[in-house]
């Protein structure tokens, strides 16, 4: 890489291409994530482009055998579009050494958490999903996912995904989030 001064036209071109591509990438990531990235787990959304892009990359890794009779991202627990993630806000534990139902090694699962209701497209049923956080290690930083179906303000804690639910764990330091089926909510 030369240390000489870059000519002005080249700078313009560089920056132009950068601008266009970065935003295209952001749009892409946003689409891949279904939920918009700008919203919550605060600025984690703003972890700049490369991690954001890597989120979608992680999702495009070969998925494990699709569970529960689904193909595609709705059947891939490491995808933000996975059906159980309809009200999640955080890093997916399946990208962090855990799974969509288990915490990564050395963390502790929050016993109290928020609840979403998500429709499983494989059987058409609505399920009650418990988004237990995994706690006691620093931010995982991978596979950020924020979707807000039925999310409510913090004065309604059981419906609020803005709350750090590690508040109920021995260490309140947030690491990642799971999506655990508690049971069927309604038949439809």
């Amino acid at each position: 890489m030369s240390r000489s001064e870059t000519p002005s036209w080249e700078r313009h071109l560089d920056r132009w291409a950068e601008a266009a591509a970065r935003q295209l990438a952001r749009g892409l990531s946003r689409r891949s994530l279904l939920g918009r990235l700008g919203a919550t787990l605060a600025g984690a959304a703003a972890l700049p482009l490369l991690p954001v892009s890597r989120v979608s990359a992680a999702s495009s890794d070969p998925a494990p055998a699709a569970p529960e009779g689904l193909d595609g991202p709705e059947g891939d627990p490491s995808s933000c579009q996975y059906w159980r993630h309809c009200a999640i806000d955080g890093f997916l534990c399946s990208c962090c050494g855990g799974s969509h139902t288990a915490c990564p090694p050395g963390t502790v699962m929050s016993p109290v958490t928020w609840i979403g209701t998500c429709r499983n497209p494989a059987d058409g049923r609505q399920y009650v999903i418990s988004y237990n956080d995994c706690c006691g290690k620093h931010l995982c930083g991978r596979c950020l996912c924020n979707r807000n179906e039925g999310d409510r303000p913090a004065y309604l804690p059981p419906k609020s995904n803005d709350i750090n639910w590690c508040a109920s764990a021995p260490s309140t330091v947030y690491h990642c989030s799971t999506a655990i089926v508690l049971g069927v909510a309604t038949e439809s």
């Binding site: 950068e18 935003q23 979707r147 999310d151 330091v173």
Partner: protein, 413 residues
Amino acid sequence: MRRMPAAILVLSFAVLLPPPPSGADPERPEPLPADALGVILPAPPPAPHQVWVADFVLERTAGFDANDGRLLGMLSAGVGTIAPLFSQARGEIYLPETYYSRGSRGTRTDVVTIYDAATLAPEAEVVVPPKRADVVHAMALSTLLDDGRFLAIANFTPATSVTIVDVEERRLVGEIATAGCHLVYAAGPRRFFMICGDGSLLQVTLDEAGHEQARIRTPPFFAILEDPVTEKAVRRGDEWIFVSFDGLVHSVDVAGETPRFAEPWSLLDEADRGASWRIGGVQHLAVHEASGRLYSLMHRGGPDEHKVPGTEIWVYDLETRRRVQTIGIRNLLGAFLAQQTGTPGGALLWLLERVVPNPGVDSIAVSQDADPRLFGLSRSAGTVAVWDARSGEFLRYLENVGIAPGALQAPWR
């Protein structure tokens, strides 16, 4: 302000400083003199156009001068919510913080750190119950009551309560039980309220020592199931302004002994609703108290998209309850990139702003002076846009405000 004597500069390993040069060349400039060592800059004096942006990955909040874009200084923080409280009267900043003895584990200690606003150095701390709430939007989690003496902190363990700190005496007053109600909003020198799970308010009055003297529970004032208000209210004098998911304005007057609720009115007319306009973003409201202008971050989207970034800022006159202005949100990414090329007014800007998709704005705030500034943060662009809050004219960008920018505050008058 701890100045290090130059003599102790280079100590433990030998460094060879050559002897001073001898002989002067009349054609060459004099050599540069040695710089002073150990100089620490003071913080610039508080001013209305200073804006603070938190960052929970870098664990700090940083102040910026919106007039020239300069970063002014930072406060480091512990884990969880970063939302400092600013006392102009006392020249202090109060930062509720949480620490673990081993960073991510061990023994938890919560403190309120008291900073000298002139130096941004910690002056004192008050240890508080290790219970403070951690919510990602960082709003209504703590508040300074109106005469600046008592600070109230919302707790969540997940049982809720409130901690009271006396910042004048720099001591913990105590904890108030508030089961079923959460978040704190100042409502006078000795009064605050909380929102309860049924849509009512709990108002607590303190005595002169900061202990609970009285409490009032109001009836529900909004439709908790059908159309709840967000917790991201703004205050204008004795009036707290809440807005519901569907854009209904619920005002609460806290001047009297009992909170009074005004008749709700809507930010949206039929045409707006038909076009799917709704509130959005993380901090979606701002109010300029003197002019009575309410700023609301809006976008078009579905009912579960209440956190999607805003694409326009709608401006209302609170007296007439009418929209008086619409501020289109410049493309923070496109314009920022155009600015990088050094041609902020040129054709490239024109093109970039139109071609690069607009990431929108997540948070807004407004300064309270007579020449107010409106601030809009794009978390994904890491940039704050600055507008003239009266004319809506775009003025400049504050760039590189953090890796994971969060709460946006314009605290000084």
